[in-house]
Amino acid sequence: MELLRPSSPEEATGALGNGSRALAGGTELVPLIRDGLVKADTLVEIRDVVPRGVTGTRIGAGTTLAELELDGEIPQALREACAQAASPQLRSMGTIGGNLLQATRCWYWRLGFDCWLHGGETCFARDGAQREHAVFGNDKCASAHPSDIAAALLALGATLRTTRREFAVAELYRLPTDDDRNVTTLAPDELILEIELTTPDASTYLKAMDRRKWSFPIVGVAAARFGGETRIALAGVAPIPWLLDSVAILDEATPLPGTGYKVEIARALVRRAIEAI
């Protein structure tokens, strides 16, 4: 394995692709490499080439969650999502850009089962042990996306600037298909550089967990109010962060036998989030 330290985003993207991976905080990538779930001949350390810090409504993708949870200027939903994510140790290394790209906690996927999401034929969770799994978009793969921050940015209607393009955060994610099992649209040699926020009138993030702290979301609910419009997005309910076009969509959930409780929790938290803003 080789470790490269490029000095510019261009140099970094030039080194990406072909079996290399971008390394930022490392809190996700390092264990995935150790477990053999990600193969990388070359690691490209991008901490020094990706913007870091908050300027007005722009957040550098290299800003750590620890820095964001203390920032009084960013919308409350994002601040709370950062503060409730992971543990202090992980938040001081983990970056917002990396957090958006984290992989599911589905135990079959994490243990390297030859599952549909890994390119196989079967989603083992659909017929097997399920509880942290999806209630939406789960007909092929029942995994749940664990990013609190992604749900917050989705509700906030944030846009991303990468080394190639600018687009709404919603477009970063795609439900995996038979032809392409990726859950993001990011190219292998594309880096997220900045997140551009809109400023809501009010926003919040509520999270149901198995422990009081240091847990991935069973259900996370981000809500943001812009004038008369309220945007709601959920974490932990689908293979990707899930924008809820209306509260009624909860009636259309397709829970598995072991995940129905998530719909009930989502219903309560969505109502509370709307009341809170």
Binding site: R110, D127, A129, R212, E264
Partner: protein, 754 residues
């Protein structure tokens, strides 16, 4: 004088009749309550080394030339190895030895659970060993696993005999009852997950072997490894200076110690075999799941007239079947009790003792059922327990050596009396309630155990015994006992332990037995040394021995004379006073048990199923308390482990293959500091006047026993929901709430129809 006695020996609720030679002089009983050192709040004598990161754990040991092991474990719950090719591993970089099923009993070619060891590789680094192990080629014949405990009972797949018990006439008792409750309770598999994983370093030296191991039982490792290796026990030296948690899982050598010993022999190098966290969650033992189908019956005055239950222990592939039915047999004075316990053998990883095995699970079922009964009877749950108080061990009518459960109940009253106040805290979706549960368990320890004490010319003492401190504070407790008996300051006592070659036999640190087994031997050794010091002092000062005593580092006489201890010990120069002591027998014809009660205050969010434990009051009766600070810490540790067991911890198995899905500490959820409630702990601290020269019982296990039932009963108090299954995750809580709503609706419908 040495005496040969036939006695019952109990560990973790399992009994055997053994011959034991005991050698103990009777000593005066210490007065009850805190003494000069014993009973005080004493910080760890070895705490600073641990806080500085200087304590040497097995995990920290570095020996020159040491190799590292990776174990190839079965990915299948039931399979046969058709062929195995170790050669690709042998030729891998850094590899020094590879062994397979043909080389060692602990490596199998017919694995019976996921994680069963099949082959092992020793290499210069762990990474090299792991890479090499992945190159081993195995052709498998995969067989259908047996994973369902009820199905195992149907097929009569058992690890041991079905255990039937009846006293009185259960059916007749049931026939005479006014109120009967029946319920099925289920408990999950939980994993010890000590922070230091199971591991050993084996090193062959001269014609023997030295084993550094994270263990709860140095002498057990010595005996079983000597047997395994065909060596005289004295050729096996076992060392454990600091160990990072055991909770019952580290009583035996496991597979890793024989594997390390074999690889060390083949390579003539020290070899470490350390489980990874993933292996720890699969192959290091667990608290097995149970299914309990229970019945309780009473007359309207609250008298329990029948208790019965079928208890299925999902033991796993091997292990032993804990007495899940124990609390039902022992806790209450019910005349008619019938239990059947099925020890189901499954293609799942073997169980290992885990902090009060059987009683944690059985208390959850019994004490929840008792509250369901109390609701139906309209009797206060605490009163119902008092009405059925057992004054003797009802399984064989032996008297208790001491029982202060009534005192525990009395002390629980002010906390229990806050029921209305707690319920009144309910606001919006958050419902508050309070619940309690009783505790019964063993914890009396027993012989044999020995200690030596040497006192030098400087008047300082060293306790020497080959026991282990598993993190509970044994060094400190033993130092306190020696200091108290010798009448010297605590910091003049050092405790040397952790090495089978340096000191006499000492008991296992399991079954809440360390203090009650070892403490009396240490006191006895200190008394022996003290007697000798007084004999010398009497000669030196021309006084009678009976007028002399040791106190506060002084030799004192009844007429007011006082000399520094060193005035006598100083005469020794390089000489030493050697005291020796042994643990005496437990009181004949008596049952030695521990008791307690816990009161839990909880809040439940009835919309999201979140359960918050606000407070737990724990009141336990374990005889004399040696270290009040350490004892509190044991209580708190047991409670938080109990909260994990109750609310969040669960090993997740794949229902089709028996693979273990929760292998890391994000999937297996132990409580964090944020999950800690307010904990109030009270120890009754009345010495057991029949038990040893200390009157102390063990405290390691009792505090975890009533936690789950107290919380579940508080949930019922808050919401009316009947918890039937652990852990009480959001889905179990929401299920119970919806079921209670449906029950309530049905009740109202029925009432309306009338």
């Amino acid at each position: 004088m040495a005496r040969l006695i036939r006695t019952e020996k109990e560990v973790e609720g399992r009994y055997e009749e053994v011959w034991i030679v005991v050698d103990e002089d009777a000593l005066d009983r210490w007065p009850a309550g805190p003494l000069t050192t014993v009973g005080q709040r004493v910080p760890r004598v070895d705490g600073l080394a641990r806080a500085r990161g200087q304590a040497l754990f097995t995990a920290d040991l570095q020996l020159p030339g040491m190799l590292h092991t990776a174990v190839l474990r079965s990915p299948y719950a039931r399979a046969r190895v058709i062929s195995i090719d170790l050669e690709p591993a042998r030729s891998a970089f850094g590899v020094r030895a590879v062994i397979g099923p043909a080389d060692l009993d602990q490596l199998t070619d017919e694995p019976g659970y996921v994680g069963h060891a099949v082959a092992a590789v020793a290499a210069d680094t762990f990474g090299q060993a792991q890479a090499a192990a992945e190159r081993i080629v195995v052709e498998w014949d995969v067989l259908e696993p047996l994973l369902d405990a009820d199905e195992a009972v149907r097929q009569e797949s058992f690890v041991s005999d079905v255990a039937n018990y009846e006293r009185g006439d259960f059916e007749r008792g049931l026939g005479g009852a006014d109120v009967v409750v029946e319920a099925e309770y289920r408990t999950q598999v939980v994993v010890h997950n000590s922070l230091e994983t199971h591991q050993a370093v084996c090193h062959w030296e001269d014609d023997g072997i030295t084993i550094y191991i994270s263990t709860q039982y140095i002498w057990g490792i010595r005996a079983s490894m000597a047997d395994h290796l065909g060596l005289p026990p004295d050729k096996v030296r076992v060392i454990c200076h600091a160990m990072g948690g055991g909770f019952g899982a580290k009583n035996s050598p496991g597979d890793y110690t024989p594997i390390a010993a074999e690889l060390a022999k083949r390579t003539a190098r020290p070899v470490r075999c350390a489980l990874t966290r993933r292996e720890e969650n699969v192959a290091a033992g667990n608290r097995n799941a149970t299914i309990q189908r229970l019945t309780a019956a009473a007359t309207t005055d609250g008298t329990l007239v029948a208790l019965g239950g079928d208890f299925v222990n999902a033991v796993g592939y091997s292990g032993w079947s804990a007495t899940t039915e124990g609390p039902m047999k022992m806790l209450y004075a019910c005349d008619n009790v019938r239990t059947t316990q099925y020890p189901a053998k499954l293609n799942l990883p073997p169980m290992a003792a885990f902090r009060a095995p059987g009683f944690v699970e059985g208390t959850f079922g019994l004490e929840c059922l008792l509250d369901e009964l109390a609701v139906k009877l309209g009797i206060d749950p605490l009163e119902l327990r008092r009405m059925n108080y057992a004054d003797s061990d009802r399984t064989d009518d032996r008297p208790f050596s001491s029982k202060n459960l009534a005192e525990c109940y009395r002390r629980a009253e002010p906390h229990w009396a806050k029921r209305d106040e707690v319920r009144a805290r309910s606001r919006g979706p958050w419902k508050h309630g309070i619940g309690l549960a009783s505790q019964i368990w063993y914890g009396g320890g027993g012989p044999p155990s020995y200690a030596w004490i040497r006192v030098g010319s400087d008047g300082r003492a060293q306790v020497v015994t080959a026991m282990q401190d598993i993190g509970t504070g044994t060094r400190t407790a033993m130092a306190q006992i020696a200091a108290e008996e010798l009448g010297i300051p605590l910091d003049h006592v050092q405790v040397s332990l952790g090495d089978s070659a340096r000191g006499p036999f000492a008991s296992i640190s399991a079954g809440s037995s360390t203090v009650p087994s070892m403490g009396p031997a240490v006191r006895s050794a200190a008394a022996d040394a003290k007697r000798q010091i007084i004999e010398i002092a009497a000669q030196r000062f021309h006084l009678e021995e009976r007028v002399l005593d040791l106190r506060d580092g002084q030799i004192v006489s009844t007429d007011g004379g006082s000399w520094p201890l060193t005035e006598v010990t100083g005469l020794l120069e390089s000489g030493q006073i050697l005291g020796q002591g042994a643990r005496g027998p437990n009181p004949a014809g008596m049952q030695v048990l521990t008791f307690g009660v816990q009161v839990a205050e909880v809040a439940v969010d009835v919309e999201t199923g979140e359960v918050r434990v606000d407070k737990i009051v724990a009141i336990h009766d374990v005889g004399r308390v040696i270290n009040a600070l350490g004892a509190e810490s044991q209580v708190e540790g047991g409670i938080i482990q109990g909260i994990g067991h109750t609310l969040s911890e669960e090993r997740i198995d794949d229902p089709a293959t028996g693979s273990i899905l929760s292998r890391t500490l994000d999937a297996y959820r132990m409580p964090t500091i944020a999950d800690v409630p307010e904990i109030v702990s009270e120890l009754v601290d009345i010495p057991d006047e029949h038990l040893t020269n200390l009157g102390s019982k063990g405290l390691g296990e009792p505090p975890i026993i009533p936690v789950a039932a107290a919380i579940a009963n508080a949930i019922r108090d808050a919401t009316g929901a009947e918890i039937r299954s652990l852990p009480i995750t959001r889905e179990e809580m929401l299920r119970a709430l919806r079921e209670a709503e449906a029950r309530e609706k049905e009740r109202r419908g029925a009432a309306a129809a009338v």
